[in-house]
Amino acid sequence: MKREHCHSSATASQNNSKPEYSSPPSSALNGKAKIWVDEQGYSGSGGMDELLAVLGYKVRTDDMADVAEKLEQLEMVMGSAQEDGISQLSDTVHYNPSDLSGWVQSMLSELNTGEDMPSINGPLLAPGESSTRTSTKFCNSQRTRVFNDDSEYDLRAIPGVAAYPPAHSSSETESTRKRLKTSIGSNSGGIEVSGAVSDPTRPLVLVDSQETGVQLVHTLMACAEAVQQENLKVADALVKHVGLLAAAQTGAMRKVATYFAEALARRIYRIYPQDCLDSSYSDILQMHFYETCPYLKFAHFTANQAILEAFATATRVHVIDFGLKQGMQWPALMQALALRPGGPPAFRLTGIGPPQPDNTDALQQVGWKLAQLAETIGVEFEFRGFVSSSLADLEPSMLDIRQDEAVAVNSVFELHGLLARAGAVDKVLSSIKAMKPKIVTIVEQEANHNGPAFLDRFTEALHYYSSLFDSLEGSSGPSQDLVMSEVYLGRQICNVVACEGGDRVERHETLTQWRGRMDSAGFDSVHLGSNAFKQASMLLALFAGVDGYRVEENNGSLMLGWHTRPLIVTSAWKLASSTE
């Protein structure tokens, strides 16, 4: 962002004669300066740059590129230094501040020779690893230093396999600092992995975004590790750096990094997001998510297919929906029931939802809409809504389950929240059993975001949401939908990373874990048939232009994923047939 600002100020400088610089123009000057020199061809007053001269700086036009480079380096250095570091600069007296080139150079050399300075080598935060990365350039100049190990700013001290590969000799550590593709005056003893020698006079360009992409991931990981070890100052420095690196990225990577950085910052500063946000707001967000990408549609269609097959011969059916929201799942089911050979059954729906802050009866409104639809297509319909802040508060007796009806229980992304409270999920599962359902359909995220260690959860979540955001990138709907979907996912990220205890409700678990839980609770798996698979595949094929989605069958459950990564799973269950 700083760069953009400089950019605009640099462009402004070309238009006005009296530009205002609030920060030293850095990279923006670089490209512009060269053009300028060519176009200007002006060499008044000893070849000094005219515009800067107006401000009071004397810089030779020939030196412009060089000065720009140095300013860039200075910016990087100052950007990552802590405040203590900058105050050290005040010791030097600058006699000729109009000699921009001179004082920048002296600042740089001063920062290099300062004692007990934090390691301020630009993106030093990225641990140097990379035996696998052959394109990395390593420059060991006078600026890289070995600092005291007990300095809290010595970020090399962050241990961990996450950040560094284990076998690392100390001599390598100093020199294997990853750098921007910059060149600094002298490359004394530079160690280069790639064959190319960095050209000292090459003008600065923006960082290679692929390099910063990898740096970004590593910085995030290092930050998470620091957080896990309660090393909050280091984490703070790192999280700020993530912001800098993220700005150099584009697309999904940038968004994911931004959300994760924000969540980490919240965790560090203990500014926890309010969890009592309006549930209608989260419903709206989920609607946008529904419209942008196929995950929820997939969930609905596959669950409906399982329910339809279970209800094949029933004349009265009762569906209990653990999270009614806008009721988007049920029109399709009602339509399929209406066109069932032999006519539709009597359809009863019980919808469960959280309490509304403004006391509107959202459930009844949805029920009313569904009732209108039912009347239109000729299905006998009955609706009941239950307001409950937690599924564990529900008692099966409240639901008035009648003798002659076939019951289905449907839960889309509702069960993982129960894991935040001890015993809640077991209570709910036993309630489900008491309802004697013919089928239980469960849709959950396929990820383990509920491990005991923060770093593991963080890593998992980073991979999961990266894939998810990636899949959203190709979506070609209205951009507002996309933004809202991202906000929806961003809130989940925030919850996984920043919250703890009862507040952390996004406790996703993998299919294997859910299977274990269901099996021990007394449920048998029901295989989703080929109809569900076909419908799901067709549905995905409809999402034009985005061909990364994959439907996979996993022992009777259907998984929807992006390329090789499964993201959500639909599974169906029935009561274990031991008692009857």
Binding site: Q326, M328, G477, A544
Partner: protein, 156 residues
């Protein structure tokens, strides 16, 4: 000579009765029933009469189920009509679904039951969204946003 031409043209006129398609709506309907979607759309632009005829839902019903291997059950018509009619079904669901899912010429291929079921489900979702959106009346033609993904152009 002038007179000769007149009499000869008059003779030919008398021998051939005038035929005006607009006088025979039933034949027009039969012809339109056999057109494909885009052609039907073009036909609807010919004149007021054709436009009215083309709006006839049975023509679109024929279009929707023309290439189905087995005829749909009669209950389907009631549901489809209630949800907005065959013309809308074709425009909003079936045409995009089929054009996305088939590589070859859409007209000739046989539509599978699954595709029809999927189209009908999406159609129902469309109705539900519209009915929720238009609390106080409004254009029934607004396409539901959850089906927007169907309207997007395909990268061939």
């Amino acid at each position: 000579m002038h007179q000769n031409q007149n009499t000869s043209s008059q003779d030919s006129k008398e021998k051939r009765p005038k035929f005006f398609i607009n006088d025979h709506i039933d034949i027009l309907v039969e012809i339109l029933k056999r057109l494909d979607g885009p052609s039907l759309g073009v036909a609807a632009c010919v004149c007021h009469l054709w436009s009215t005829v083309a709006r006839n839902d049975t023509i679109w019903e024929h279009l929707c189920f023309r290439h189905v291997s087995s005829p749909p059950p009669c209950s389907v018509r009631h549901v489809v009509v209630a949800l907005g009619g065959y013309k809308r079904l074709y425009r909003v669901c079936m045409r995009p679904v089929l054009s996305r899912l088939s590589d070859s010429d859409m007209v000739k291929r046989v539509w599978t039951r699954d595709e029809i079921q999927l189209s009908l489900s999406l159609f129902c979702v469309d109705y539900y969204e519209r009915s929720g959106r238009l609390g106080a009346g409004g254009g029934g033609d607004a396409s539901a946003s959850s089906l927007m993904f169907l309207c997007n152009t395909v990268n061939v």
